[in-house]
Structures are given as C-alpha cells and as structure tokens.
Amino acid sequence: MELSEAPHAIEAILFVSGEAVSVPDLSQALGLSEMETMHAVEALQKEYESATRGIALRRFGDHLKLETRAEYAPYVERMLQPVQRQSLSQASLETLAVIAYRQPVTKGVVELVRGVKCDYSVQSLLHKGLIKEVGRKEALGRPILYATTDKFLEHFGITDVRELPPLPAVSAVEATPEPPLVP
C-alpha cells in the first residue's frame, strides 16, 4: 500500500475494531513492516493531537485504540439515556401533600387522612426520590416515618418546607390523630 495512505487505513481499522489493536497485527493487515507501521501511527497521532476532536487516539504500549474524549461523556450519556418525563397521579400528589405538611409521618396517618390505602403511591414517591424514610415511630409495630427530600424542595422551587403555603383553615390534614392501630 501507499505509505501516505497507511495512517488512514489504520484509522479505519481502529474505528471498526472498537478495541485496542496491536502494532504487529496492524502491520500484517497493511502489508507493511513494523517500522513503517510505527511511522504511520505517529503521523496519525500527530493529526489527532493537532486538532480538537471528539475522539482521541490512545496508545498503551504497542496497542492502539480510538476513544471518545472524557469531556464529551455527559452528552454521550444524555444520548444513550434520555431524561424521562413523568407526571404524578392525583393519588400520589395527595399522599405527597399529606407527607409534606405532617412530616415525619407514618403511612398509617396518611391513609387515615386520605381514607384509602396508600402503599402504591408511597412506593412510587420513594422510587421517584421525592420522599424518604427517616426512622421509625416508637409505637406498636414501629412503623416507618416518612419525610420529603431535597429533591422535593428542588422540584417545587423552594428552599425549606416552611415555605409551603399555609394549610386550608380547618383541615383534616392537621386534625387527624395517629391511628390507634397501624395496619
């Protein structure tokens, strides 16, 4: 092959391979001596160094590899894993409201206030990182206590739960006592 073409043939091989390729293997594929191959590698390295690029040529001993530059990793990740958009159901929003105003609070209280089972919405809020477990209540069954997270504050654009709007005047959210027995 033409010596002047060798650097780009090497680039093509490294690109398709994805993995590190050794200089002896390269020189065999190109039909060049190892010396000639090394010269071509150096020429290619110079090209890659002289310009800002999204990909870089790295050398490990006598192995060569093409890699993405670390500074572009966030974009690559965003590409491979796009942000998922979701919205909260009415049920989850109600559960979140009760927890926000009564925290730390047990699921039992949330269920008593809302009048329905809340296992599903509590799980979903935990999964979304809007609430977290903050300990256990010293009561029969030692039920888990829930509170809102920093992510909750971030989502609502406030710095502290005290910035939440005041409760409606006479509200079940405030009035409902602990249930006598937590299911």
């Binding site: 398709v16 958009r85 909260l88 709007p165 509200s171 027995l181």
Partner: protein, 245 residues
C-alpha cells in the same frame, strides 16, 4: 428449439418474457412477430417444477399471449376508440418492467459500494441511573390535592363509624361475612374497598376476602374493574357473558 427453463428462476411471467426477448435479441415491440409466444408456452408446459400456485401467473400470461396471437389471425373488425388493445398494453407493461428492472440493477451497484463502508459496533457503557423529570409539580397542585382531601373527609369519618358497628358482629366466620356481603349486594352494587375501609385486624380482612372468593365461586357475586389499580365494584349475581354488560 428446445429451451429448458426453470420457472422458479424467474420473478414472474414478465421476467421470463424479458429473458426470452433478450435471448432472441429483438426489440420489445417486435414480440408478436417472433417466436416468443411459442417459446413461452413451451417453457410453461415443460416446466419440471410446475406447481399450480406458483405457475398460475405464468399460465394467465400464456393465455393472454395465445389470445393476442389468435386475434391477429382473424380479420380485424373496425375497433372502437376506447377499447384497450391487449397487445399494446402488454408491450407497455414489459417496457415499464424492463425500466424498473434496470433501475434495480443500478441500485444494486450502489448497494455494493455502500457495503464497502463499515460502521462500528455500539459501545457498551455503564450508565448512571436515568434522570427523571416530573411534570406538574407545583405548589398550586399540592394545595389543590389538600383541598380535595379536606372536601371529602367528613363523609369518610361518618362511614367509618357506621361500619365499625355493622361489621364487627359478623365478620369472624366466612359464613357470617358472606351474609353481610350478600345483604349489601341485595340493595345493589358496592365498592370493593368499602368492605375493608376500617379493617381493624388481619383476621377480619382475611375472612371477608375468603367470603368474597366463596361468593364469586358460587356465582352469587361478580367483580368489575375499569382499569389496572382502578376501582373494583362488586355486583350481585353471576357475570353476564352476553349483551353489553
């Protein structure tokens, strides 16, 4: 002249006709002053891989060729203006087919060139957990949620007290619970969650549930649900599998 042709080699009768025309080195429009019709019929008749399904298009074409040929032998009556000339139509179809067949050949050479370019396998990259963005989280939405709870709350308390007295008496045997559920169903459909809303202890919940399963089995009740995690409704009697229910 004996021609041995395997019909399967050809993509339909037009393909075979083009092949014969090519072999005879004639122009498409000269097809009916040549031996092509005879050769085509011969090929279809002799086809060793004759199978009716695959060959039906070939047979239809053979029939058309014979028809055209026989018309040529008859004295021509004056032709109405708008009548299609089958001979002309076939020549047009053959011409169009030849055009696309050659187009396909041109595309095949592009394909060959494109196959000389290699991509790279996607890389396997460990990814952080996906970012979740939640829509509709506003203080106003939170406030509305609280208002909804407050608005329906008093009713909920009354129901709870009422049911505490009503169920405790009977719920410790499956038979007793069945009676309660049945009596409730006797005045119409009821909410599944309503059976449990005050659920004071595990035995009651389990017993009521067993009673309900028993009623379903006996066909004295059935359940409907509009969607997953949606409200479940109990109705008296067996489910109607006909009509609009």
């Amino acid at each position: 002249m004996a021609i041995h042709i395997r019909l399967k080699q050809f993509d339909g009768p037009l393909d075979l006709l083009l092949h014969l025309i090519g072999k005879a080195k004639i122009d498409i429009k000269d097809i009916f002053v040549s031996e092509i019709t005879e050769q085509f019929i011969q090929a279809v008749r002799d086809a060793p891989d004759f199978d009716l399904e695959a060959a039906s298009e070939f047979i239809a074409m053979a029939a058309l060729l014979v028809e055209i040929k026989s018309r040529a032998l008859l004295p021509k009556p004056p032709k109405p203006e708008d009548e299609e000339d089958p001979e002309q139509t076939l020549i047009e179809r053959l011409t169009a087919y030849k055009q696309f067949k050659e187009g396909a050949q041109g595309m095949a050479s592009y394909e060959q060139t494109a196959m000389q370019a290699f991509g790279k396998l996607p890389e396997e990259i460990p990814l952080p957990p996906p970012t979740l963005e939640i829509d509709g989280l506003t203080l106003e939405a939170l406030w509305c949620a609280l208002r909804r709870i407050a608005e329906r709350e008093p009713q909920g308390v009354r129901e709870t007290e009422y049911r505490l007295q009503d169920i405790r008496r009977d719920c410790y045997t499956v038979e007793g619970c069945m009676e309660v559920i049945e009596s409730r169903l006797s005045v119409g459909s009821t909410d599944f969650d309503g059976l449990f809303r005050d659920a004071p202890c595990r035995e009651e919940v389990v017993t009521i549930f067993l009673a309900l399963l028993e009623l379903l089995k006996l066909g004295k009740a059935h359940v409907t649900q509009s969607d997953t995690f949606g409200r479940m409704l109990l109705h008296p009697g067996r489910r109607q599998t006909f009509g609009t229910e």
